[in-house]
């Protein structure tokens, strides 16, 4: 419980710091604060989908359903954060570029990513039998993740983009005001901790569901 309270205090405290302590980026003005939510949400998307891929491969190797729980839970949370990143980015685009959607390479990439992982959830919901669902969705998730680095990191660098340079620029440096950098990385850590907490809850729910089904199966 103390850990949860500390995590809330951490995220709330750094959110206040984003408003009261970190300066504004001159070009972005008041919209600078979207950065502290939008980029961590996109980071969690990549982390969660990567986690899903790793556990999908582990499932295919070891055939333990706990790995399937991790793969499915991480993919669901990844999609949730992907939607959050898309929505916050769309609002930011309206403020900065005058339109909610511009088919910018990053916007197009995240749209395809959502489609690919929505199909993953569709595959899972279409199969009843645990092992079969785990095996087929693990193959799908492992193959789908190949698109993630391509869509998130390669496509936006190939084509002209309205988006600014990535956080780590081509010279390998981070061009940020030191105070913005502190708040940004603090919130990145907070989001990462939140992801692992949410994932642990999702995995425990999946375990309970399976235990419930097993109990029902044993009773019948």
């Amino acid at each position: 419980m103390i850990g949860r309270a500390l995590l809330f205090a951490w995220i709330a405290g750094w959110t206040i710091a984003a408003f009261a302590w970190a300066p504004l980026v001159p070009v972005l003005g008041e919209t600078t604060r979207v950065l502290y939510f939008h980029i961590p949400a996109a980071w969690i998307t990549v982390l969660a989908l990567g986690w899903s891929m790793v556990h999908s491969l582990l499932y295919l190797r070891r055939r333990r359903l706990e790995h399937d729980d991790h793969a499915a839970g991480a993919a669901e949370i990844g999609i949730l954060f992907c939607i959050a990143a898309t929505a916050s980015g769309s609002l930011w685009a309206k403020a900065m570029w005058g339109s909610y959607w511009n088919w910018d390479p990053r916007e197009t990439s995240i749209f395809f990513l959502l489609l690919i992982y929505a199909a993953y959830l569709a595959v899972r919901s279409a199969i009843d039998q645990d092992e079969r669902r785990a095996r087929l969705s693990a193959i799908y998730s492992a193959a789908a993740f190949v698109a993630v680095p391509f869509l998130m990191f390669v496509v936006p660098r190939i084509y002209f983009s309205l988006h600014p340079d990535p956080i780590i620029n081509p010279r390998g440096k981070i061009d940020m005001d030191p105070r913005i950098r502190v708040v940004f990385f603090a919130l990145l850590i907070g989001f990462t901790a939140l992801f692992f907490w949410m994932l642990s809850l999702r995995v425990r729910v999946a375990r309970l569901e399976r235990r419930g089904l097993a109990a029902q199966g044993g009773a019948s």
């Binding site: 419980m1 949860r4 995590l7 809330f8 995220i11 709330a12 959110t15 206040i16 408003f19 008041e30 604060r33 907490w197 949410m198 809850l201 425990r204 729910v205 309970l208």
Partner: protein, 35 residues
């Protein structure tokens, strides 16, 4: 300035609700695990 305070207030409220929901969910999961 008032606009910033409103946005910050809404952000903190939403974070609070998210944490409240997750803590309640965790408590419920613990109960079910004990059973």
């Amino acid at each position: 300035m008032i606009g910033n305070a409103v946005v910050l207030g809404v952000a903190l409220l939403v974070w609070g609700l998210v944490f409240f929901y997750l803590v309640r969910l965790e408590r419920r999961i613990k109960e079910l695990e004990r059973k």
